[in-house]
């Protein structure tokens, strides 16, 4: 008990104020600066985590559930079937062709876009009259709705009324209409696959060029100048100075493009619908056809999940590379 000091009437009991030895209150642990910073940081992060979790995580887990079940469009309750759907997909030659086409489509278009995008970016970095107009025109393929541009290409690649064939015919580079020398862009297997890849490249490579330009503008000119003074030629400057400096941007751009190309359903769906004889069938079109149009949701989901193991290693490699560069 604390000591009470004497005091006159009306005086404020001093002991109450100073005489009672109060235990020193330690700051609550959750009010410490470290914890408060931790909570504040995570509360800022929570919306993003919820967003990714709800819009990416839940659909992914749901498609995983579908792929392991015999779900169909009209059956609310599905049975667990293990990896039956995955095995059924692998057994189908249509699926194997679609898988091969997906790889060819993604790699082929990716390489073409890299070359064209890089070339275009360097060209657009040069100073010339009308550069802004040219830049605006070049991004147009990327800004036009894909359905509109694909239908435009469908007409340009038409077997009978193709403007490309008309021009090539006028230049005497192809045979007459109705002969074997008349290219049927969307009807001959190799040409059909090349055509859908071409339209994908045409639509996406300006995006690659813009990403690359963004990176190139961040490279200090004095670094380039220094490399020039040291006698580095263009390729050496590109390989040893520019690319290492803009590598994070290139990697993120490459990752985006790979994902977009591998999951691109619109161009194939609108131009060839996977034909002729599966020559342009890719995993997204096959998954849509089996899962939605034929109603076999489980098997459709299993086909679409084959994209995941293809993308995962690429993503892990790229992200690890990015992290290493951050440190």
């Amino acid at each position: 008990m604390g000591e009470v000091s004497a005091g006159g009437k009306g005086e404020r009991p001093a002991a109450l104020a100073i005489g009672v030895p109060t235990a020193r209150v330690a700051p609550r642990w959750w009010r410490s600066i470290a914890v408060r910073r931790f909570v504040f940081g995570y509360s800022l992060l929570t919306p993003a985590v919820l967003y990714v979790g709800l819009l990416v995580g839940v659909p992914f887990l749901f498609s995983l559930y579908l792929a392991l079940s015999d779900a169909s469009v009209g059956a609310p309750v599905a049975r667990f079937v293990g990896i039956d759907n995955l095995l059924a997909a692998v057994e189908s030659s249509t699926f194997r062709v679609a898988l091969r086409n997906s790889l060819v489509f993604t790699l082929g278009a990716g390489i073409a876009k890299s070359i064209l995008g890089t070339t275009l970016a360097f060209l657009l970095m040069q100073r010339f009259r009308g550069r802004k107009v040219v830049r605006a025109l070049l991004v147009m393929p990327f800004t036009i709705p894909i359905a509109v541009s694909a239908l435009g290409w469908k007409w340009m690649l038409d077997s009978q009324f193709s403007v490309i064939n008309w021009a090539l015919g006028r230049l005497h580079l192809i045979g007459a209409y109705g002969t074997d020398g008349w290219p049927v862009w969307l009807g001959q297997p190799a040409l059909a696959l090349a055509s859908v890849m071409f339209v994908n490249v045409w639509r996406s490579f300006p995006f690659g060029a813009i990403v690359l330009m963004a990176g190139l503008t961040s490279v200090p000119p004095e670094v380039i100048d220094a490399a020039k003074v040291d006698g580095a030629n263009f390729l050496q400057r590109l390989r040893q100075v520019i690319v290492p400096m803009i590598a994070p941007i290139l990697l993120v751009g490459g990752l985006f493009d790979t994902v977009f190309t591998l999951s691109d359903i619109s161009i194939v769906y609108l131009l060839t619908n996977g034909g002729p004889n599966g020559a342009t069938e890719i995993l997204p079109t096959l998954a849509y056809r089996v899962g939605i149009q034929a109603g076999a949701l489980g098997r459709g989901a299993a086909i679409s999940l084959f994209l995941f193991p293809l993308l995962l290693p690429a993503m892990v490699l790229l992200l690890r590379n990015l992290r290493r560069r951050e440190w």
Binding site: G74, S92, G178, T272, G275, P276, A294
Partner: protein, 434 residues
Amino acid sequence: MARVTRREFMRFSGTVVAGASLATMLDARQAPAQIRGTTLRMLKWSHFVPAYDQWFDKFAQEWGEKNGVRVLVDHIPHLELPARYAAEFAAGAGHDLIYFVGQILTGHYYRNLVDMTDVAGRLAKKYGGWMPSATSAAQVGGTWYGIPDFFIAIPILWRKDLFDQHGLAAPDTWEKFRTAARTLKPTGHPTGIQFSHCNDANHNWRAVLYCFGAREADPSGREVLLDSKETREALRFAKALYEEGMTPEVFSWDDAADNRYLASGVACCIHDAISAYRTTEDTNPEVFRNTFVLPEAAGPGGERRNVGEPNVWAIWKFSKNVAAAKEFVEYVGDHQKEAMTASRGYNLPFLQGQYQKPMPVIGTDPKLHTLQDIGKITSFFGYPGPMSPPAQEVLTSFIIPDMFTRVARGQDIEATVGWGMGEIRRIYAKHQAG
């Protein structure tokens, strides 16, 4: 003259008045009062004949005004319908009245569709019964889960002027079709049938198969019957037809390409819906004057079997307005003649009594009047089995057009049949296991 007592007179006149009233009510079929003040939302495709959609929307609005129902009609491209239905089913909400076109999903969704046997029964009674093939589109286990609206026939359209110039007979058999193509291709007028991934390829090559006597599945829809001598004959025929009478562009064609081929004046004959006839009528009057129509070509055994594109109404169980939806579907069934007129003869009814001659549009056009009997030779994918989920998957996977494409491109027939049967049996096995 016998005396009639007042009691007898009253009884007789009462019976007459009551009977007449009942007959009038039945004839003018008043919708039940409970649907007044409700809303009916329906989802349809965008018809190939835009004027039909305009007519239909007005027709639906007028029905709504007459019955005090607010009617909302949504049209989307037919290939997008399956995705929309999957979404509506998953959400348990959406349109009251839906529509299957080409891809008939009755077998998938029947557990979640309203039993419409009462509507089907009333329509059958009024119009002399349904075509036998109608049940395939709308029934599961003997119950009507949908009401067939109309189907689209895929006849032969041929250029009489070109045939006459070379003394060729009308292509009423596939052999004559081939002879004509072989004769006319060197003159710059080949034929063309899609060897690609499109609806027409599915219908056209099935028609060839069925005309050659091949069958897709048994009547129960459980056993695949395509591994047959007739299938091989049909494939052999298609290869010859391609090599002798077509150009490679058929491998790239979509559904509209053969319309353009005919309208451009190049084709000597095609196998397509009368949309091609209408396109030609609108764009090339000279070619149109010489374009004639035959319901189907006969196979080597004389069999003619046209493969149509079915259109079916259905109602979700979660629909908020089943009563109005049923009333409207029955009302549409009562007005098929107007629908035929609005679609310029494109829509053909499933009800046998609606084939009384002359039929609207096709009965008055001398070049189309032969289509008035096409209902007798019409079947649908999966024939003679039902349009079951596995048959639907075979259809959407384009396996049959791909078999024809492989053979036309030079693959061995046995290897092709082996591939096709492998894919088809795998699909049937998965569905039967499920």
